[in-house]
C-alpha cells in the first residue's frame, strides 16, 4: 500500500520535467562534492603563481584564479562547504524547531504563550543583524557562522511547525486517539509528526536554497569560512578584484549558486504539488 503510494508519487514527480532536470542537476552537484577528491584535477588550495589567471582549457578545465589555483577543483570542493554546511544548519535548526514547536503547540496554554512571545522577541531583530553580532562576538569562522545561522533559523521553524501541529491537533482523529486513552507520546509520534512531515520536507527543500544564499553571502562578507578553504561565496569575493580583466572568476561560482538555488526551489515546488495532491 505504502509502496503503491510512493510509486504514484514518483510517477507524478517524473511528469514534471523541470523538476526532474533540477533533481538530476542537484544529484550531480552533491555527488561532485562528495567525490571531489577523486574528481578534482588539482588540489584546490595549491598555489602556483606561474599559472595565475589562466583561461579555461588544457589542464585547468575552468582556468585558474589569481593565485594559480584550479577554479574547477575549487568549485567541486566548495560544494562541501556551501551545500554541506547549509544542509547541517537546516537539519539542526529543523530538529530544534520541530521539537519546540510541537511541544509548544501540543501543550498549549501558558507554556505556549511564553515560548511564542520569546520567539516574537527574537524574530523582531533582522536576522543579518543577529548573525553579525554573534559572529562579531565569537569571531569569524565556519562553525561560528553556522551556530549563528542555526540560532536565527530555528525560530522560523518553531513558528511554522507550531501552526502545522495546531492544524493537525484540531482534527478529530486526535480527539479519537485521546478518547481511546492513547498516551501523548504515541499521539505525537504516530499521529502528529507523520502528518506534519510532508509539509516540513517541502519547506526545508525550499529553505535550503535560501540558506545557501545566506551562507554564501556571509562568506562573501568574509564572516564565514576562512581562506584558503574554497567556498562559493568567497570565490565570488576573490574574483571581485579582477572583474575587469577576468570576470569569469565571479561568473562560475555565481552561476552555480543561482542554479542550485533555482533547482532547490523547483524541486520543493514539485514536492509540494505532489503532497498536496495526496491530501485532496
Amino acid at each position: 500500500m505504502i509502496r503503491l503510494l510512493l510509486k504514484q508519487m514518483a510517477q507524478r514527480f517524473l511528469k514534471r520535467k523541470p523538476a526532474v532536470i533540477c533533481l538530476i542537476f542537484m544529484l550531480g552537484v552533491v555527488l561532485g562534492g562528495i567525490f571531489a577528491p577523486w574528481l578534482a584535477p588539482h588540489d584546490p588550495t595549491e598555489v602556483a603563481l606561474k599559472f595565475k589567471l589562466l583561461a579555461p582549457g588544457g589542464q585547468f578545465p575552468l582556468g585558474t584564479d589569481d593565485m594559480g589555483r584550479c577554479v574547477f577543483s575549487r568549485l567541486l570542493y566548495g560544494t562541501r562547504a556551501s551545500l554541506g554546511s547549509a544542509f547541517v544548519v537546516m537539519i539542526i535548526a529543523l530538529m530544534i524547531g520541530t521539537t519546540i514547536g510541537t511541544f509548544s503547540a501540543y501543550k498549549g496554554g501558558h507554556i505556549d504563550n511564553i515560548l511564542m512571545r520569546l520567539c516574537d522577541i527574537f524574530l523582531s531583530f533582522p536576522s543579518l543583524v543577529i548573525v553579525l553580532v554573534i559572529v562579531g562576538v565569537l569571531g569569524p569562522g565556519l562553525i561560528n557562522v553556522m551556530i549563528s545561522m542555526i540560532l536565527v533559523q530555528w525560530l522560523w521553524y518553531v513558528r511554522i511547525v507550531r501552526s502545522l501541529v495546531l492544524s493537525i491537533t484540531s482534527r478529530s482523529f486526535i480527539d479519537a486517539a485521546k478518547v481511546a486513552g492513547t498516551s501523548d507520546r504515541v499521539i505525537i509520534w504516530t499521529h502528529i509528526l507523520p502528518n506534519v512531515l510532508p509539509q516540513l520536507i517541502v519547506l526545508s527543500t525550499i529553505d535550503l536554497g535560501s540558506l545557501i544564499l545566506h551562507f554564501s553571502g556571509y562568506s562573501f562578507l568574509g564572516l564565514g569560512i576562512q581562506p584558503p578553504t574554497p567556498e562559493w561565496g568567497m570565490m565570488i569575493e576573490n574574483g571581485r578584484r579582477f572583474i575587469r580583466s577576468t570576470p569569469e572568476l565571479m561568473y562560475y561560482p555565481g552561476i552555480l549558486i543561482t542554479l542550485v538555488v533555482i533547482s532547490l526551489n523547483l524541486i520543493g515546488d514539485a514536492l509540494r504539488d505532489i503532497f498536496d495532491g495526496n491530501y485532496q
Binding site: F173, D175, G181, T182, T190, N195
Partner: protein, 330 residues
Amino acid sequence: MIKTNVMEIKNLNVSLKTQGRDVPVVKNVSFNLYEGKVLGLIGESGCGKSATCLSIMGLLERDRWNVAGSIALNGQAIQGYNQEKVRRLRGGTLSMIMQNPIGSFNPLITLGEHFIETIRCHKTVSKKEAQQIALEMLSKINLPQPQKIMKQYPFQLSGGMLQRVMIAIALFMRPSVLIADEPTTSLDVTVQYQILGELSQLRDNYKTSMLLVSHDLGIIAQMADNVAVMYGGYIVEKASILEIFHNTLHPYTRALMQSKPSFTKNRLNVLEGYPPSIMQIKAGCPFAERCSYVQKDCQKFEMSDYDLGSHTVRCLLYASAEEAIPCACS
C-alpha cells in the same frame, strides 16, 4: 432485577472560562448509569450534551473549562485524578464513540496500526498478541475479512465500516461505561440500524452501561432504558423510556415529541424559536420564552427538580404549592 450503579454523576457543572466571566454550559446535571442499561440523552444542538460527555471523559482542557461536581465510577470519584490516571481510564473502563467516524482515523496509518497502538497503550502485549485481540474484536462486530481490514487505510472503508471499527476499538477492554456521542448521525439509515443492533448486542454480552446521546427520538426509543432530556444546560426531564413516551410531562419534551414526523397528513408541529444562547443568563426556566404553558412566575422562579416518583421534572407546572418558593434574587 437489582440495578447495579456503575457511574454516578452528581451536580455536574461545566462552565467555559471567558474574559470577564464564566459562561455556564452544563448546569447541575445529575444522573446514574446502571449496569447493562442505556441512558438516552436528548436535546437540541447547543444544550450541553457533548460538553457533558467530554467532561465525563476528562477531555475538557482545564485552563479553558471549569468542571465542578462529582463523577464516580464504580464507587470511586474520578474527579481528582491526575491526567495520567484519567488517560489510563479512558479506553479502559471508560470508552467513547465519536460522531464522525471518517474523521476519527489518522489517514496515514492502517486500521490495524490504530488498533495495535491503542491496545498497547492499555495492555502490555506484543504486537502479535495485539493483532490477535484486534482480529477477535473485528470478527465480533460482524465485519467481513478482518485480516484484510487490518491492512487497509481509513479512506478505503465506508463510514459504516469505520464506525464499527471504532466500536471495536472502544470495546476491546470491555469498558464498564460506553459513551456514544451521536454514533449514527453521519451514517445512512440502514447502516444506522445495523450499528445500533450491534451496540445493543454488545451491551447485552458485556453488560456495558451506555450513555447514548442523540437527537433522534427513534434511536432513543429503540435503544434506551431511561431517558434524560436536556435543555439550556439543564436536565429538564428524566424518566424511564415508557414514562417519557406515554406520560410526557415537561412542555419541552412534549414539543420534541410533536416535532417528530409521523405517517399522517397532519402538518408537523414545529417548536418555534431557538434554544437560548449560552451567553445570556436569565433567572427562571430557560424554556419559558418558547413554552406554550408559560405562567407569569416561570421567569421569576429559580427552578429545581421536582421528583414525582418515577419521574423527575424541572418545571413549575409540577411544583406543589410549598415547593414553589420565589427566588431571592428576583
